[in-house]
Amino acid sequence: MRKIFLIMTTCFTLAATAQETVLPAKPQKGIIYIKNATIHVGNGKVIENGTIKIKDGKIEEVGASLPVPADDVSVYDVKGKHVYPGLILPTSSLGLVEISANRATTDVREIGDLNPNVRAIVAYNTDSRVINTLRSNGILLANVIPQGSLLTGSSSVVQLDAWNWEDAAYKTDAGIHLNLPSLMARSGGFRGGGFGAGPSASQTDPVKEGLEQIEKVKVFFREAKAYQAEGKHEETNLKFEAVKGLFEKKQKLYVNANTVKQILVALDFVKEFGVDMVIVGGSDSYQVADLLKKHNVSVILQQPHSLPTATDDDVDQPYKTAAALQKAGVLFSISDDDSQTRGRNLPFNAGTAAAYGLTKEEALAAITLNAAKIMGVADKTGSIEAGKDANIVVSDGDILDMRTSNVTDAFIQGRKIDLTDKHKLLNERFEQKYEIKGKKGF
């Protein structure tokens, strides 16, 4: 038996000064065990002192009393540590946006407002410096989404340890994304500070205007559906072709909507086209949770770490919304699309939801199994269960709390990945300069 004591991945080669030295791991062959773990399965269950058996990249067995044979297998003893399914970032511009303020480094928003044929996956840059900083916090998969107005394109789920986007693709073009108009009167003037107030008189009705835009999308879907019903086409329509999967339920329709009006209007797409729908954003989704449940609409809460929508709202409303959805039985997941931290605080957004009404395991599910369900990858990932890819994270403590979250190891498809990132390398570099390595402070 070959025992591997997990030593923190902060063991870098001294020569390593750039991410370029971080290599994607080779495919995992044979059997490995992770033992003595507190296993957070992802489905709400916790297995104390559990063992995970991984074979050729897949989880073969999970349990409290799995025997670990004395053969030539790799065994990771993680006594005292917590093991989680790889976290999934359900909405992201990862790999499409390197630095948002620099146009040359962004590939996220195409021209036009009916772009269902635009595919995020082809622009996904596996060499983005952001990727490895997410892995360091346990995020092993991400849904990469094009932005824009109305139909923005198709998203793909990627795993975060790859040489190129084809390697990274975990599920391709599985989401079609729709950005709804606000359906709300715009601000007409300044409030506060004495710059005068009040709406501008000449506004057109924002709801009508918005509904016309939405009707444009419906017309598109109607024609696309008819197009798919006919056997042969005189000419090929790439945009119609791109949404074929929606009607066959092989794709989901992700609708960016926050207000009740937006969400209710979005239900049209379920009713008329029978699509599987995911509401993205959903800041007011708690007000229609029962309706969402009734119509089998799932929700991605984009940013719990957000201010309440209205001044009159509960000060903690964004923190509590997840619990309201949970209570109503809505399938939801939590995201972190903060543009300054780039998604790395995903577990803490879930942790906040746990502080305000979810159980910790429910909060975990919101960034693992439920996210996988929404993205249509629950057959492959999202929980530590037999038959799934071995996408696994090991943390010193509760991964949802920054106080204890410290990811020491991670496996994608059984491959133990290198948790080095640009930040650790720069830290290392300057710890050397100042000779402060290991110092706790002064």
């Binding site: 630095i99 506060g192 207000t259 009740v260 543009s339 300054q340 931290t341 790395r344 942790g351 906040t352």
Partner: protein, 1060 residues
């Protein structure tokens, strides 16, 4: 009973308008027609002024002036007598802020909020041609009397509302020149102007100025302050300045009443403080929200000019629309009509104006609403007459009915403030303007129609100029109208016996039940062969001709038999409607008067206590707060006077201090220039920011409100304590040495101002090389300035010592921009410098060392870890984010280990928010420094408590739990660095400003109050009152202009708005 017969005769006798006496210098084309407009108005109730009423009195006017007023006056020979029995005479009103007679300023677009709009070029100098000052918004040279033109289209609605005199000025610019007092007579400008230069005007609006500076509230304040100083200095005629007409006229205008248009409760205070600094007491043109801070209004000692444009009810029937209408807006809708009454109650003098009304014709309905909500008649009258006249120094001419004053008065048919009273005439300078014709006497008339077949007799019950009932034996189908003097009466032939709709069989309709001529129904039933009568109202007898149903010509006469007895005026004072209470601040979660949390003695028992002192973390310990200070920290404390809070299983820490925040301010960025050290956040604090309360819920007790990063040398900052409900002054952290914001890098070189990757920036600097030069230049100028003042002061001192005259000494020009920089050089003001990359950090320190100052704090400082040793040597503090990066080029190398590295190198490090959302979780941000950098938990907590206190130079007052420090304390539900920790109590100065249990109750109150107001608005709608569509309440949030935020749907980043 009223006898209008003689009155009517009078009306007819002066039916035409008199020309005003001729103007001697103007040639006459024709025959001279000199007149004197000599009239005596007798038997009237004359309200001379708000407190003097004469009954059965006489007013004599001649040549446009009042000759005499009194009881028992004889009608002088040569005067036309006008019997005003039953009528009331009042002085015509004065509108001190009317929109009249001057060209409307054409608003410009662009210019940019904060003077800093990405993608737009700056306009750095004035577009005004001529020998004027440097800033296009200072239009002190504009004299309204030079551009004034009579505009009868605008005068008429004002006259109809009872106004006779207005102050007109050009409403454009921050300084707006002078106003002129004119009457509303439709005469040559020469004759209606009462006082050419009557007032000087100021505002917080750039108006048509397209110049970038000032681009913010604080910039406007700074511009005004500097202009006062410059104008004073200009009196010495400094040669270097040449001729400056703006400053010259500024000085010329100082002797006039100074009127400041501030339009908002906080702006009123801001304006008043400028006045206080320069010995000016402004008359303040307010808004509608002063009732929200009436005590503060009183402290200004100002007289106010108050508009009556109350908010309209919104259509909030749809809950999904109502959701986005803030409680604040709904409460304001309900309470705004109390605004004027609040001034009266507080004993603050005020005038009323038609300004800001959507339509001058709504003046009376608005005024009556204000009265319904508590404004007294006496005060209303004063506010419309004596007060404005006195302010403008024209009370000798207008404002009361006294001999020698202008014959500016209104004649009404009842007490002027009664609901049913109408203004009949408005005399301006003795010229009659008819407001409402009242020459129809309602009553019963005998109608005699002389047909070829003999005289037919009818009875005509006349109710109004459009309604009368005609009957003989039975009621006829008839339509009556009077237009001016002309009478028309059509009726169906008798034989048809058509009945009016609604009449019961065989009976004529009761009086006032509608009768004829109402609506279109009777019209429709009038047959084609209806008789048509036409005639003239000759008073109590009408005469006319007509054609009967058979086509015969006829004549007719109607004679008044009995005048309708007018009901005695039953207009009772309406009861004040039930209304909600003012809360402080005027926001959700605000406190009602008397409910504000008070300072208490508090003993937290048996908690884990993070002292931030050498005692470290104490288990099962107590903290006692007395009289707002920490009184004791230790075990087994007791105090009989203290409220005991059980801290078992909980944690106590000092209140969180946010080194970098942009909440609670009306403006943040003054980007109009690269150096704006003259602007001050403190000039524009905004206590009505719900984020104060939200941040209290996250344990924050002190926030450093920084200027943004639009320019290299930004504005002076302000440290505040989160005393939710306090006014702007009471928010301030007392006894704090000031700081100032500097900025480097991408924002100041306007990197985002790029089109297709080519710089669109025209404001120096455009590179980090230029940034260095801006700093060197600014401090070089500051040193020269410092030296000039030192030399001046030394010379002055010497002369004084030698008892010689100092008259020959010329003081240098006071420069607010350089004053602030000199304070830095003298270590009285400290820098917090927005910075990212190592080159610029290093560069800023080298400039500082060269010029002799220290960069106190580098804020953001995301590459501080690369030059931490140099920063330590320089003596800087570091205030940074925990884990931000990769949102712009200069943060490409930002790492979450930054804080820890700097700390380990020996720097005092803080973690700040720069974000209203993250500020609620600063404890968690500190926790990340343990996670990423491995500092101890105690050191991490200090990064959001003691360390920021140190860099803000207030560590003697806050930042740790040490006896005699301020009682700023948080009780956490859990380990303070854990994501599961919530603040249970956030205490500032021993006052519990956030109490998680109470918060739940307050949320309930907010919901209840919302429900009440939504229902009230819906009631308004159902009762048929006009409502406007629901208006989502957007909140402007100010930021660094640096990065994105998760502030929610209804928040507009001030960077994203243009100034149009």
């Amino acid at each position: 009973m009223r006898k209008p017969n003689t009155w009517l005769a009078m009306v007819c006798s002066i039916f035409f308008s008199l020309p005003l006496w001729a103007q001697p210098t103007f040639p006459e084309n024709g025959v001279a027609d000199p007149r004197h407009g000599h009239y005596a108005f007798t038997n009237a109730t004359i309200v001379k002024d708000a407190v003097t009423t004469l009954t059965n009195a006489t007013l004599v006017i001649k040549d446009g002036k009042i000759v005499a007023v009194g009881s028992n006056l004889k009608v002088p020979a040569g005067a036309v007598e006008v019997d005003c029995k039953g009528k009331f005479l009042y002085p015509s009103f004065i509108d001190i802020y009317a929109d009249y007679g001057t060209p409307a300023a054409q608003r410009t677009t662009g210019g940019g909020f904060g003077g800093f709009t990405p993608g737009q070029q700056a306009q750095l100098s004035t577009n005004t041609k001529g020998a004027y000052g440097w800033n296009q918004a200072i239009k002190s040279d504009v004299d309204a009397y030079k551009v004034f033109v009579v505009d009868d289209a605008k005068a008429k609605p004002l006259r109809d509302a009872g106004f006779g005199t207005v102050l007109a000025h050009v409403k454009d610019g921050i300084a707006r020149g002078t106003g002129t007092v004119v009457t509303l007579a439709n005469e040559k400008e020469n004759l209606v102007m009462l006082k050419e230069r009557a007032s000087a005007h100021y505002s917080f609006s750039k108006g048509t100025s397209t110049q970038s500076y000032p681009g913010s509230m604080m910039g406007m304040i700074a511009l005004l302050r500097q202009t006062y100083l410059d104008a004073q200095w200009y009196k010495q005629r400094p040669a270097a300045e040449g001729i400056n007409l703006s400053l010259q006229s500024w000085n010329d205008n100082q002797g006039l009443p100074q009127i400041f248009e501030a339009n908002d409760k906080w702006n009123n205070l801001r304006a008043d403080r400028i006045g206080d600094e320069f010995g000016v007491q402004y008359i303040i043109k307010g808004g509608q929200n002063e009732y929200q801070r009436i005590k503060e209004m009183k402290t200004t000692n100002a007289t106010f000019i108050l508009p009556l444009n109350f908010p309209q009810a919104q259509d909030v029937e749809d809950p999904n629309e109502a959701r986005f209408v803030a409680l604040t807006d709904m409460k304001h809708w309900e309470l705004a009509p109390t605004n004027v009454a609040a001034f009266e109650k507080a004993g603050i003098p005020f005038c009323l104006t038609t300004a800001d009304l959507r339509d001058v014709r709504s003046f009376w309905s608005s005024l009556r609403k204000a009265m319904e909500y508590g404004l007294s008649e006496t005060k209303a009258m004063e506010a419309l007459t004596k007060t404005p006249a006195t302010l403008l120094g024209v009370y000798d001419k207008v404002g009361s009915l006294d001999a020698g004053k202008l014959a500016n008065f209104v004649i009404t048919n009842g007490p002027i403030f009664n609901e049913k009273t109408a203004i009949l005439f408005n005399y301006v300078q003795g010229i009659k303007y008819t407001v409402k014709e009242e020459n129809l006497i309602p009553g019963t008339y005998n109608l005699a129609i002389n047909t070829p077949s003999g005289t037919e007799s009818y009875t005509l019950d006349v109710k109004s100029s459009s309604s009368a009932t005609m009957f003989a034996k039975d009621t006829l189908n008839a339509k009556f109208t009077q237009d001016g003097k002309m009478i028309k009466l059509n009726y169906a032939p008798l034989t048809r016996r058509m009945r009016p709709q609604g009449a019961t069989d065989g009976q004529r309709p009761p009086m006032g039940s509608g009768g004829f001529g109402r609506g279109g129904t009777t019209d429709q039933t009038l047959p084609a062969n209806a008789a048509r009568l036409s005639g003239v109202n000759n008073g109590k007898e009408w005469n006319g001709t007509g054609i009967d149903s058979l086509g015969n010509s006829l004549t007719w006469t109607a004679t008044l038999v009995k005048e309708t007895e007018m009901k005695t005026d039953s207009a009772k004072k309406k009861d004040m409607p039930a209304i909600g209470k003012v809360v402080y601040p005027f926001m959700p979660f605000g406190w009602e008067d008397g409910q504000q949390p008070k300072q208490e003695n508090i003993l937290i028992k048996n908690a884990t206590v993070w002292t931030n002192e050498k005692e470290g973390v104490l288990q099962n310990a107590d903290v006692l707060i007395k009289n707002g200070k920490i009184a004791a920290v230790g075990k087994n404390l007791s105090d009989a006077s203290a409220r005991v809070i059980d801290g078992t299983g909980k944690h106590v820490t000092p209140g969180i201090i946010d080194e970098h925040s942009h909440i609670a301010a009306a403006s943040i960025n003054e980007g109009g220039q690269s150096v704006t050290s003259e602007v001050r956040i403190t000039d524009n604090l905004n206590p009505d920011d719900v984020n104060i309360y939200r941040q209290l819920s996250g344990g924050v007790t002190t926030s450093h409100i920084l200027h943004g990063s639009a320019n290299v040398i930004g504005g002076q900052t302000q440290l505040i304590k989160l005393r939710w409900g306090a006014n702007d002054d009471d928010l301030k952290f007392k006894g704090w040495p000031g700081q100032i914001k500097f900025a480097l890098g991408e924002n100041v070189k306007r990197s985002s101002s790029a089109i297709s990757n080519a710089s669109n920036n025209n404001r120096y600097p455009d590179t980090r090389m230029g940034v260095e030069q801006v700093l060197i230049d600014a401090f070089t100028r500051a040193k020269d300035y410092q030296k000039a003042w030192k030399e001046y002061n030394d010379a002055k001192e010497k002369l004084i010592k030698e008892k010689k005259s100092t008259a020959s000494l010329v003081a240098p020009r006071r420069d607010l921009e350089l004053d602030a920089l000199v304070e830095i050089l003298e270590k009285k003001r400290f820098i917090t410098c927005h910075s990212y990359v190592q080159s610029e950090i290093n560069g800023a320190m080298k400039v500082a060392e060269q010029m002799g100052y220290t960069v106190n704090t580098f804020t953001h400082i995301l590459e501080g870890y690369k030059v931490a040793d140099k920063m330590k040597k320089h003596g800087s503090f570091a205030s940074t984010f925990s884990d931000w990066w990769a949102y712009k080029m200069e943060v490409e190398d930002a790492i979450p280990y930054n804080a820890a590295i700097m700390q380990k190198v020996g720097l005092t490090v803080a973690i700040n928010s720069d974000d209203a959302e993250m500020a609620r979780r600063l404890n968690q941000e500190a926790a990340k420094i343990v996670k990423y950098g491995g500092v101890t938990e105690e050191e991490a907590l200090k990064m959001v408590t003691l360390n920021p206190a140190i860099m803000l130079h207030v560590d003697d007052k806050v930042g740790s739990l040490k006896v005699s420090k301020d009682g700023d304390v948080v009780l956490w539900s859990d380990h303070p660095l854990s994501i599961y920790a919530k603040s249970l109590y956030t205490i500032v100065d021993g006052t519990v400003y956030f109490d998680r249990q109470k918060d739940e109750a307050m949320q309930k109150q907010v919901d209840d109050e919302r429900l009440r107001l939504v229902r009230k608005m819906n009631g308004e709608k159902r009762s048929g009152a006009p409502v406007i569509p629901a208006q989502p309440t957007y909140q402007i949030m100010h930021t660094c202009s640096d990065h994105g935020h998760s502030h929610g749907l209804l928040v507009i980043d001030s960077d994203d708005i243009n100034n149009d």
